[in-house]
Amino acid sequence: MVTQWNNPRIAMKEKIYTLLNFLTKTLTMELGDRLLSISLYGSTVTEEIKNVQDVDLFIILKAPISIQELKTIKVTLEQCKEKFTDKETLIKYLAREGPFKIPPIKKYNIALHITIFDLHGIQRVCLQESSLCKSFMSKISVLYGSKPTDIGGKTEVTKHDVLNNALTIPFLKNLIINSILWHDIDVQSEILFGIIEYAVLSSVINALLSTGHTPGSKEECVSMFIQQFKDFIFKQYPKEIYDEKMNQKSLKDKHKVNDHIKKSLAFLTALLKYMEGYNGDNNK
């Protein structure tokens, strides 16, 4: 895939959409009316393009999904990898609920993060699971078929969800704690930073949703958090981590990442306490 663009962000965007075009076309042709939706969410939709770019996709099919259908999806992903990998472009894919982070190896690094659902699977995500998923749903680009919420349903976010369920604040604190055991900071500092960024920004989305705010981009999310949580002691921290992620300079510096582990844990501990006592008018 030879790019004609000098601006790396524009070039990356072009690469991603060419790949997505191929993926969508192939899957719609192969799966026919068994395919209910291909939807893009996350930082690609909000145009926060970096040299390591997560491309998050929901692929939803009618239940039950057969082995042949899974094979079609797998073959298509392999074709994407083969067709779009070149000297300066790395393509990795993984099917997984939860974060998928890759380190920067080439000039352009695309992490194709797929979640495959049948009808009941998407109901789980839409109806109850996490406020985080509900936030994804609010900024979604449908590449084929219906919006996931039109298939799976929609519910409101409650304070109970934000404080107790999977993929919300307590879960995200545990995620960082357990990641310290998983990933050796000496060799995987970038992956650790990716997890910290995911945990901090996701907890901010959770907190904002429970106060009735739905942020679009991550940039909007961090500035909205400063405005809405004026009396929260660590309100500036999400912006700090967002800025560092966007300029990508210090991610290999293990001392800085170590510092972020400490700060992110202090942030999540304090946010959990703050939200426990939150009654909607803490700032008044």
Binding site: H120, N174, L181
Partner: protein, 271 residues
């Protein structure tokens, strides 16, 4: 196996010292029934201070690696996995471990929330009943956890039918079914057995052993109409797993069928 458990326990205690509130231990014989190399599976759940010093976590990571190396020199392969997802244990067994130990850290301030969570309810119910408190205070006890209902079994984030189904789909995409058929068979079998075991919690019935799980399920849910397929699948746990996709395929079928069964409300017509 006792030596391995004691050595891991020592690594945990000597690294985390006074950061620990409680250590729960659970033998997962229900997951070890058909493992690739007759490996044993167990899990440690460690509840630690809310403001834990990350240096002690790093020390724990180092000491666990050290323990692993020592055991390896003695001819025993132990693998560690961190976090709550049980089916991911099998992907580690492909590396020919003799034992897999899950290590999960939970901060004290997080526990009160987990106890109220619908997503963690099944996991905590099983832990409170089958788990052993090795150290500290009994922070997790059965009466603090909500009663399990069909909704938990279908839709919760951990240990539910829809979650296991998604996991099996992901496995197909990420791994090679032609080359890693035992892995697919183990994951398929385990997800069905775990689901049945969890559905029995609706009736407040706790079982671990595969045949017992099947027997109790037939007793408490007599109107479930795919009992034969289920029996065939469970029989596989006793036999050599063959080179076929049938177990994986049957498991997907049963997970879907059980989901429909619970959603239809028929499960309430049982005993």
């Amino acid at each position: 196996m006792e030596t391995i458990i004691n050595r891991i326990m020592y690594a945990i205690k000597s690294s985390l010292k006074n950061e620990i509130h409680s250590i729960y231990f659970i033998k997962r014989d229900d997951l070890s029934f058909c493992t690739l190399h007759n490996a044993k599976i167990f899990q440690f759940f460690i509840i630690i201070n809310e403001n834990v010093d990350i240096e002690s976590l790093r020390l724990l990571s180092k000491n666990l690696l050290k323990t692993r190396e020592e055991l390896k020199r003695e001819g025993r392969e132990v693998d560690f996995i961190y976090g709550e997802d049980t089916l991911s244990f099998y992907t580690h067994l492909a590396d020919k471990a003799d034992a897999i130990s899950g290590i999960t850290l939970w901060c004290r301030d997080v526990i009160n929330h987990l106890l109220l969570s619908s997503d963690y309810a099944i996991m905590l119910k099983n832990l409170s009943y089958h788990g052993e408190l090795l150290f500290g205070n009994r922070i997790i006890s059965e009466w603090k956890i909500p009663r399990i209902n069909p909704w938990h079994c279908v839709f919760s984030f951990y240990d539910s039918l829809t979650r296991y189904t998604t996991y099996l789909y992901e496995l197909y995409i990420n791994r090679d079914i032609e080359r890693e058929y035992p892995l697919f068979n183990c994951c398929g079998l385990a997800s069905v057995l775990q689901s049945i075991k969890n559905i029995l919690l609706i009736k407040n019935v706790y079982v671990q052993e595969p045949n017992e799980i099947y027997k109790k399920f037939c007793e408490y849910f007599p109107n479930y109409d795919e009992k034969n397929t289920l029996r065939h699948l469970i029989r596989t746990t006793k036999s050599q797993i063959t080179r076929s996709k049938r177990v994986y395929e049957r498991s997907l079928f049963l997970l879907n069928h059980l989901t429909e069964y619970l959603l239809s409300g028929w499960c309430y017509a049982g005993r």
